[in-house]
Symmetry: D2
Subunit: 363 residues, 4 copies
Amino acid sequence: MSSVFGKNLIVTVFGQSHSKAIGVSIDNLPAGFEIDMDELSAFMNRRSAEGKSYSTKRKEKDQIEFLSGLVGNTTCAAPLCAIIRNNDYKLSDYESLKNIPRPSHADYTSQMKYKGYQDPTGGGHFSGRLTAPLCIAGAICLQILKKEGISIHAHIKKIYDVEDTSFNPIGNDVDNVKMLLENDFPVIDKQKGILMQEKIHIASEQLDSIGGIIECAVYDLPVGIGEPMFDGLENNISKAVFAIPAVKGIEFGNGFRCTDLKGSENNDPFYINDGKILTKTNNHGGILGGISTGMPLIFRTAVKPTPSIGIEQDSVSLSESVNKKIKISGRHDPCIVPRAVPCVEAAAAIALLDMYMSYRIWR
Amino acid sequence: MSSVFGKNLIVTVFGQSHSKAIGVSIDNLPAGFEIDMDELSAFMNRRSAEGKSYSTKRKEKDQIEFLSGLVGNTTCAAPLCAIIRNNDYKLSDYESLKNIPRPSHADYTSQMKYKGYQDPTGGGHFSGRLTAPLCIAGAICLQILKKEGISIHAHIKKIYDVEDTSFNPIGNDVDNVKMLLENDFPVIDKQKGILMQEKIHIASEQLDSIGGIIECAVYDLPVGIGEPMFDGLENNISKAVFAIPAVKGIEFGNGFRCTDLKGSENNDPFYINDGKILTKTNNHGGILGGISTGMPLIFRTAVKPTPSIGIEQDSVSLSESVNKKIKISGRHDPCIVPRAVPCVEAAAAIALLDMYMSYRIWR
Amino acid sequence: MSSVFGKNLIVTVFGQSHSKAIGVSIDNLPAGFEIDMDELSAFMNRRSAEGKSYSTKRKEKDQIEFLSGLVGNTTCAAPLCAIIRNNDYKLSDYESLKNIPRPSHADYTSQMKYKGYQDPTGGGHFSGRLTAPLCIAGAICLQILKKEGISIHAHIKKIYDVEDTSFNPIGNDVDNVKMLLENDFPVIDKQKGILMQEKIHIASEQLDSIGGIIECAVYDLPVGIGEPMFDGLENNISKAVFAIPAVKGIEFGNGFRCTDLKGSENNDPFYINDGKILTKTNNHGGILGGISTGMPLIFRTAVKPTPSIGIEQDSVSLSESVNKKIKISGRHDPCIVPRAVPCVEAAAAIALLDMYMSYRIWR
Amino acid sequence: MSSVFGKNLIVTVFGQSHSKAIGVSIDNLPAGFEIDMDELSAFMNRRSAEGKSYSTKRKEKDQIEFLSGLVGNTTCAAPLCAIIRNNDYKLSDYESLKNIPRPSHADYTSQMKYKGYQDPTGGGHFSGRLTAPLCIAGAICLQILKKEGISIHAHIKKIYDVEDTSFNPIGNDVDNVKMLLENDFPVIDKQKGILMQEKIHIASEQLDSIGGIIECAVYDLPVGIGEPMFDGLENNISKAVFAIPAVKGIEFGNGFRCTDLKGSENNDPFYINDGKILTKTNNHGGILGGISTGMPLIFRTAVKPTPSIGIEQDSVSLSESVNKKIKISGRHDPCIVPRAVPCVEAAAAIALLDMYMSYRIWR
């Protein structure tokens, strides 16, 4: 496996769902940055299942312990390592995973790749639980970017067949964003949020699951971030975001819809407003040639329905080489989209801080 | 800029649209691989504009010169460098690009980032012309992968409002693929191809442009390729594919459509067929947990309409800080999708060969 | 800081001398390797000061805790993270380090680079204590290499003015090596070892310190490891070995002494022995063109005298910008060479396993 | 092979001794830097054999052609690629290299590693000729560093048994340095230079060869460059310098001699001079904890005697598996040390510019 990301900022994620701890090491953070621990906790709570009606009842107490890299709460240039202890799990649910792979999980591919030596319990390193250390790193990157004037916010754009309003592509939706942060269920249109939660409830009742789309905006990026042709904004943000399990697609600006338009419609004319250069449509999502334009950077990412469902499914017995039924017990989120929202922000923040560091070199 | 890709296979692209030459260096190719030069030429011709009714009339003669890395036509372990000389261009068309940026091109971002020192002629390093060295590298990677039993094929899935049939997600469309390779305009449904070409013709007549979607399939990947969580298949293929100018989105398997399904519909059950483990839907596009499943790896990528159009557009004068009109002269492809098809195959091949190398380590 | 090493095997070291813990994450280990925990402990004990007459009386109990990457004692492909808790230290000794830098320590450079935000206690991330996680990673790499038939052994070649016998460059000194491993003070010539310990004792009495040279041999490397020109054996071993504090030089084969010889003397003729190709002198230390020859890989590395001495020294007050005397209290090793021996083996093992992985790709 | 160096500045060297061309690609240079082409030529001439009495009579005309990365002589942010065409060589000398390996060359290791597919002519990618593209990259890095106030100079410290004066470790030897640059044979003590040249002449007469030591100083580095523990100054300079064929050792400051001193002698006290913080001995060679101190960075590197000698040597026939004599014809430098001097400067410059870029990030 290769769970290391970045060029100048190097983020290493470790741990399995049921290992002693999960954690992250972050190399080359600037010295002297004071982490706001309350803000970090608030961010982690957005990812946590606790106290959320639409989520699993499983209790995950994510207590972060900083092992290194800080003096008090302030970075000291040494690599920062933060861990979260895993509590004891009943392992009985997972015993057969190496033999009867769960559909659309990584059980089968990891069994084949690692020849049975992988840790199958709870999905091992493939577990959604590993997004917790990703979020720790992302939350710290977000705070550093914020100090540099850059902010990142995501909301649920779609769950199953209910669509939220989109971010305004040509402005900073400050008020929407504030609301999002105050809200347990981050949508712009509250009514749509209620409908979405109903859909989740129905899926849960049916022992089924649903997915959705997350839209993320980066505001106040200076012009000039991104190093084409292989370290441009799209390249690196997508590389980071696909580290989140269940993500199956990403698009920037108007994305796939750009193919429905003619060049004269999709092109994004420049204009001067109060001495500032802006563009009229921001169809390109704040990126031209892999480099930030100064307009909001906007991307959307597709999150598949939770593969763990209570309905009986078809699978195979690897040892006997015959077809077998599988029924997944245990409690699982019928929809992981709401909890994936901060994960998308985190992945984007890690990629962006790394590219921001490259940008600073020849400033 | 950062035009270097890969971990074990390191591909470095260099050149500008109008520099003396464009080229690519490929590090860590296996020794003793004989390049089929005819196959390479045939691949490059698919990208070339020459002799294609739907394309620009500009003549680009892409004569590849190998500077190093070969003994005869066989790799010798030393880094392979291949270049294409640029012929003389009339530079007059491009003189004002630094002052009046073309909408949806990289003129503005590169002017801001490189403070006017970038090479503006023909788009410089941002030019679509730089996909030629990408294709050289990709064509060689494709040949090496083919020897290992792996093949990669792409077709035009959509142009503007005309959609082609999709690849069969659960089988190797051998016959379709053969047809694609024999065809100048790679579609599965020839009738749709004729309609698409009409749309391109109309856009051209209107001095406008259109975009589309390219679908790419990788066949006969062994189970186990991909190194999650940051070097999985989606991470690295997307990082490579976004190096192609005009690409604005990527999705794997059923991609964004997975959000329209319930888990019970989107999940992909395993079954045994003739002792072999297969899946029923391949909704995940041959990837679970970032690792190949052995089913066809399928992804789609959105290509925006060519930003160079003949219609007058709004822009600004950077020096005078006022709004200005811009009219782009010269001949440009009204739709670059057909020529981008081999580029997508090339980018995928580079990413896959690099990951295939990682896969071999602990085999 | 950048405490990440390697291409395919990625080792990340974290922690400060007095942080909650120090540790290491190792990415991309093979799955299914069972770590011999006794052997690991024995290796760590060689680095430890405990129970060694020639060493500091400070007690460091290095209890390794594995947080991830194992199922039982067997690697499971997920990144392995191992930590050592730091016990409580009296911090009073270190309070003035940011103002009055200790000569030949990193106090001054880190104060300037990190603007006072570095962790000064115990040397922070610059402390020799950070070689403990390096040794954990190295010990695991050594075990994996051993399974592949490769062994690494180092001994004290020189302390101050006493020189040990050298490794036999053209053979595997099996008996010497066994003795080394059984010995607390790893030398080939025991008498020289006694003299060396006397020198250390004298230095200690004088509140002074001494350094020395460590010689390291890698046996039974297959021919063909190393990726020139920048990832050859010398390049990567030296990059890794210079991570050990106090190392100031490295040489391969006869090293600097090759300059005393003529080409006809320094050249290393090939000959056939029992069908095997060997060389007569191994003056090149088992490396030609950055690639292993199959002869023992031999290198030596210079370790400077411990900079912490009890004698009063000249320094400056950074805040007052005046000359100041400094007297370092506390207990420090008068000679760190014996404890650096396993560190050199560890650094070499990490570099070699990474290069061994590259070597396996096109096997 | 892996001929790519660097993190932010990525240098890729390609070519073989007798391939069509040799060259280098440099990624992520700052935009807007005007290369002084005369200075570049002068630097390349120092490496060239032409017109040097002590060198081979073989004529190598190194005409640099810039393929990309420049507008006029000014960098344009796009990767810079520069090549040198190889003229026609008589290949007859090299035909048997794959069967009867030359002692102390890479013929044997490359034959084993690349299974006979390597390019044997002239040593292929292992040839000293590949230091020409290294010098192109280094010369450009030197010019950029110079603009930032940093200079790098090397001289011949030793040839066989003749030693030159050392650089003054605690001052900038401006006058010596000027003399060096004006001199074809870069030594501080001209008389020693004459003796050295006599030694080379004698070795040449004897059909033998000799080696030596090169000392290199970096002046006016700001305090704070270097990213420990794996990207410190010693780590990366040594990694780069070992890319030069024939280098077998490197030491920083007083290097291996530090082991002859006590801590009280080797330690380097700080003092205030005119408000500036300096050290008294600079025994550490301008580096503490892997980070620059502001004192001159000084290192020495051992260059082995040219392995190509006219005297008959012992080798083996790989095909017949018997001992064979080998006699190397052709003209070769009896001592490559003088021509290696700019190569050492170049390698140091590449490593330093890359680390200087890292240093700039959090400035």
